[in-house]
């Protein structure tokens, strides 16, 4: 919990990238979590990534960790990621009421990659 609160207070990769190829905003109807992911792709890999928005500890810390994780990873691998991979990355699972808080960043990331492909 302490690590999560630390990431909540001092997030990684927060803010809009000055140069990006794709973006996607995901919004959680229940919590009001609001996350936008920006990606810069190069040679089939994520060259740079950031997120912006606001939300609870779970959504914010997941966004920090996922953006850290995604740097340098291949697009293909990131597109294949699912809930289980997020649980592994974060080291915990949440109940159904908070599930979306933990998955919202991945949804935004995958949509941002899709958005980048479409823009080409």
């Amino acid at each position: 919990m302490e690590e999560l609160i630390e990431l909540y207070k001092h997030p990684h990769n927060k803010g809009k990238l000055s140069d990006y190829d794709g973006e996607a905003r995901e919004y959680s109807q229940t919590c009001g979590d609001d996350i936008t992911i920006y990606v810069k792709l190069e040679n089939g890999k994520v060259k740079d990534i950031s997120f912006d928005g606001n939300g609870c500890v779970i959504s914010m810390s997941t966004a920090s960790k996922l953006t850290d994780f995604a740097k340098g990873k291949s697009i293909e691998d990131l597109e294949k990621m699912g809930i289980e991979d997020i649980f592994k990355l974060m080291g915990f699972e949440v109940g159904p009421a908070r599930l979306h808080c933990e998955t919202i960043s991945l949804e935004a990331l995958q949509k941002a990659i899709k958005n980048a492909k479409e823009r080409r």
Binding site: Y8, K9, T30, C31, G32, N54, G55, C56, V57, I58
Partner: protein, 412 residues
């Protein structure tokens, strides 16, 4: 004064343990818990006289019909309606409001007409009107709220100058607990010639409400927020309005006679209740009203007011906790709904930490996104809401939980 400890004995669920802790249920604005009297009434119906109502030529059906109609009599008396013909059962407040927006709206709203609601409405009193306005190319206007989160009277008057056909306002806000002065508003609305519909979802369960006294034309509320089961709600409307309104849904029970060409509508209130009714819901609601009347609505109101006063006092002593709505100095203008935020902590995390202490509160936009966005930019607040079975001791537990949240997040 009522004795919450004695009342708690009637609510089996309040003995539940959550995360090893005694359940503290403070989400009553979302739904209330049910006393054994209500649970028993429903189970008795299924164990002893379950049958479809109306037209059954046998004892069981007669008994079920009698009990169902009796529940309407209880509702009518409870709110001061003239009779059961003014009591239409729906699924909930939302459906009651939709019934008016659809059945009355289709027949009475034309292109360019104005509809007036307010900025403090629940989604259920916004979206049906948005849909109607769109269908009919009508104009939807909003009464503004001021910094104290009450209706701006000047804005109400401006809205009424546009001669709206209907005005639909909440009695009590489900977010700030603000109690609107329906009686004096009704006078202005009627002077303008508009019909007045009141959303009573947050008032009916918590204070005496009488439609004659309020002089509203229509009133919508839900059974499940007032100790009754889910799936039963009420639309009260003056007989004359229901008479002139076309039906809502078509089907069995809402007709007197049907030919291949046409149908003759049934008498009130049955004209608005197509298909097999929620019989257990009606019976359960009747039992809930019996219970509330026995305790006394004024007593319930006083009890919640005392809890709210105590909670607001204690919360005002904690730094970096913001409470929305009227403060202690205007306690009589608010209900037992307290929305709050803790600086630097997302409301969902507040609710999660409360849950770890066994305390159920709600966090988010509370189905009033425009209002909550106005209160706080992230569009999310935490909310605790009281009812007749809550105690001062439970308020203390909630205050301890706030202190725990602050500690975990390192808030000063």
């Amino acid at each position: 004064m009522l004795d919450p400890y004695r009342i708690r004995e009637d609510f089996p669920i309040l003995k539940t343990k959550v995360n090893g802790k005694q359940l503290v249920y403070l989400d009553n604005a979302a739904t209330s818990q049910k006393p054994r009297q209500v649970i028993n009434a429903i189970s008795e119906y299924y164990r002893k006289y379950n049958a479809n109502i109306h037209r059954g030529i046998y004892k069981l059906s007669e008994k079920a019909t009698e009990k169902y109609v009796e529940s309407k009599e209880k509702v009518a008396k409870f709110i001061g309606a003239r009779g059961i013909e003014e009591i239409v059962y729906t699924r909930n407040t939302t459906e009651a409001l939709n019934l008016v927006a659809i059945a009355w709206g289709e027949a009475n709203i034309k292109e360019g007409d104005h509809i007036l609601i307010s900025e403090m409405e629940h989604h259920s009193n916004i979206v049906p009107w948005q849909l109607l306005a769109k269908r009919k190319k009508a104009k939807l206007d909003y009464v503004k709220i001021n910094s104290e989160t009450s209706l701006e009277m000047e804005s109400l008057k401006e809205g009424l100058e546009k001669s709206p056909k209907i005005v639909s306002l909440t009695h009590v806000s489900n977010v700030t607990g603000t109690i609107n002065e329906i009686k004096s508003i009704a006078k202005l609305v009627h002077e303008s010639g508009a019909l007045f519909l009141v959303d009573g979802a947050q008032s009916l369960p918590h204070m005496p409400v009488n439609v004659e006294d309020l002089s509203c034309d229509m009133l919508a509320f839900s059974g499940h927020k007032m100790l009754g089961p889910t799936g039963i709600g009420v639309l009260y409307a003056r007989r004359e309005i229901l008479d002139s309104m076309p039906p809502f849904l078509g089907g069995g029970d809402m007709i007197k006679a049907v030919s291949y060409e046409s149908a003759i509508w049934n008498d009130l209130p049955w004209k608005f209740e197509a298909g097999t009714s929620n019989i257990e819901g009606g019976i359960g609601l009747g039992a809930a009203i019996d219970y509330l009347k026995r305790i006394g609505m004024q007593n319930i109101h006083e009890h919640e007011k005392a809890l709210t006063e105590y909670a607001l006092k204690r919360m005002s002593e904690i730094r970096n906790v913001e409470v929305y709505g009227y403060g202690l100095e205007k306690l009589e203008k608010r209900s037992g709904v307290i929305s709050f935020s803790i600086k630097g902590v997302h409301p969902h995390d507040i609710a999660q930490i409360f849950d770890s202490e066994g305390i159920a509160i709600r966090a988010g936009h509370h189905c009033a996104m425009p209002l909550v966005k106005k209160l706080i930019s992230n569009g999310s607040v935490a909310r605790m809401s009281f009812y007749l079975y809550n105690t001062k001791e439970e308020v203390d537990k909630a205050i301890d939980a706030i202190i725990k949240v602050k500690k975990m997040f390192g808030v000063e």
